[in-house]
């Protein structure tokens, strides 16, 4: 063979595709995933603790007055001084954020799918959607209050409006990333539309949808807080505003920490869910 085609065979070797090395991948996964996870977690904790310590130290050394800046310790103290106050308000914010997130996700996936499957909709609506997306969603909050009043709904809708867009885009992108060959395979075998969607396209889009959800969940928490800023009588946004009016920085920072914890926990839950449901996603191109 090499006699017959010297040019070709060297080319072939050079062009040998850098395909995922199949023997190595699963081994690495089993052998190292736990230690790597632990090491990463430890690194993250060290990082967080380090930053908090620096922060505490800076506040101490610079002798900042309590109405300008407080350290993490006094925020933590404040939290444990009245944990039920923070937890109750956190619970309200969480409910608003989750409702908004769930609604935003459902609508976002639906909308992304419609844009993908109905070209006419794509041509008419995609530019419009992008234009709407450029409006800062928090600017819409007053409008939602006009529509839905001062209660739970208006905050959930602000959260929804913010959570919606990443899912539209990621659903659309995920569906668009289905390899052409798979669509052709479906067509050659006369697969129906529904068959093709459920057996290939939606599953293919799931990793992308999950990345969208990871972005959306913290956006939804932020949206709920903004709603509470504008028309709240409860929730962490309200806690922050109240603390602001009383120049109560420890409360404010305690609320920040609870908010960060909420977003982190949700982010983590979605990541775990993605890992459980889609263990294959690291191996698809």
């Amino acid at each position: 063979m090499s006699q017959a085609m010297p040019v070709e065979s060297t080319m072939r070797v050079g062009a040998a595709s850098p395909e995922k090395s199949p023997e190595v991948a699963p081994q690495r996964r089993q052998g190292q995933s736990v230690p790597v996870g632990v090491v990463n977690a430890v690194k993250a904790v060290v990082g967080v603790v380090g930053v908090l310590a620096l922060w505490e130290l800076a506040v101490l050394l610079l002798r900042l007055p309590e109405y300008l800046m407080v350290g993490p310790l006094s925020a933590v103290q404040e939290f444990f001084a009245r944990p039920e106050y923070f937890m109750e308000n956190a619970f309200i914010t969480v409910q608003e954020a989750l409702a908004g997130f769930a609604l935003g996700t459902a609508l976002g996936v639906l909308c992304g799918a419609v844009l993908y499957y109905i070209p006419a909709m794509r041509h008419f609506l995609y530019p419009t959607l992008i234009a709407i997306d450029t409006i800062p969603k928090v600017a819409l909050a007053p409008l939602f209050i006009v529509w839905f009043g001062f209660g739970f709904e208006s905050k959930a809708f602000v959260a929804m409006a913010i959570a919606f867009f990443p899912l539209v885009i990621n659903t659309f992108d995920g569906l668009s990333s289905v390899p052409n060959e798979l669509k052709e395979l479906a067509r050659i075998n006369r697969a129906g539309r529904w068959m093709q969607m459920t057996k290939i396209e939606f599953i293919y889009a799931l990793p992308s949808i999950f990345s969208g959800a990871k972005i959306s969940i913290s956006l939804a928490v932020g949206g709920a807080v903004v709603g509470e800023f504008i028309a709240g009588s409860s929730g962490l946004g309200y806690v922050i505003l109240l603390a602001n009016s009383q120049v109560d920085l420890p409360s404010m920072f305690a609320a920040f920490m609870v908010l960060a914890a909420i977003s982190l926990i949700f982010f983590f839950l979605i990541s775990v869910l993605a890992q459980r449901l889609l263990p294959w996603r690291n191996y698809s191109k």
Binding site: I188, I203, S284
Partner: protein, 259 residues
């Protein structure tokens, strides 16, 4: 019946029209037949329209001129008899290998226990019987392409269209895949249309080598390869083999220009 070709390509032409109205004639006046159980290789420069030709025969793309018949029927009625193997295996990462092989049967709503057993048989045939429950990321590129070949064969197609199926493999894997494919072809008795960039591969595998010329793509030669079956590795070093390769090379006008 035996004399009737399985595939008959008559005066097929293809002109793509872009959105701005520009016409791009890709194929013109293509004529050739494929007999039952025949292995026909197709070679030609990049962009000469080989993939387009396969897509027309598979019914994925409608030709703008001429006619393609499968067992005397128009392609669009004969889709069930045709299967395709692509350059990359495109297996679904969330399905194990057997389930990947079964996908066409699920598409056709004919995934029965018998068809599943046949899927397993096919995996056995390509030496992957023990890998049925494994996932594609646990396989090498060559193994993945073998699974893709099983996926194409599972619906008992009369015709197997292969578009550079080994193009992404390294030279050594490619050689063993050629031997493998010849064996599969012998055992399953399909008609195969095999597009490749490697002239030695085309000659070694093919009963015939169809050479597609460039701009617009047309058939400039249809060479019968009179080498004995089953062919072995040693045939690659025979004088006859070298002559065929040289003949095809001169027809395409290569000086390493194919890639």
């Amino acid at each position: 019946m035996q004399d009737q070709p399985v595939i008959s390509v008559q005066d097929v032409g293809m002109t793509y029209r872009s959105r701005d109205g520009l016409e791009n004639q890709v194929l013109q006046g293509c004529n050739f037949d494929v007999a039952s159980g025949e292995f026909v290789s197709i070679v030609g420069q990049s962009g000469s329209g080989k993939t387009t030709l396969l897509k027309i025969i598979s019914g994925l793309v409608k030709n703008t001129a001429g006619e393609v018949q499968v067992r005397g029927r128009d392609v669009n009625e004969a889709l069930h008899d045709i299967a395709m193997v692509f350059q990359s295996p495109v297996l679904l990462p969330w399905r194990n290998n057997l389930d990947n092989v079964m996908l066409p049967m699920e598409f056709r709503k004919r995934a029965t226990r018998q068809s599943r057993e046949y899927g397993l048989e096919l995996l056995d045939l390509v030496g992957l019987g023990d890998k049925a429950k494994k996932y594609s990321y646990e396989l090498s590129g060559g193994m993945q392409q073998r699974v893709a070949i099983c996926r194409a064969l599972v619906s008992h197609p009369e015709i197997l269209l292969m578009d550079e199926p080994f193009g992404a493999l390294d030279a050594m894997t490619r050689d063993s895949m050629n031997i493998e494919l010849q064996r599969i072809w012998q055992e399953t008795k399909r008609s195969v249309l095999f597009v490749t960039h490697s002239i030695p591969e085309a000659v070694w595998l093919g009963d015939r080598v169809v050479v597609v010329g460039d701009r617009p793509g047309r058939i400039i030669a249809d060479i019968k390869v009179d080498l004995p079956r089953l062919r072995t590795k040693e045939h690659r070093y025979s004088d006859d083999f070298a002559r065929y390769v040289a003949q095809v090379e001169s027809l395409i006008g290569v000086s390493g220009a194919i890639s």
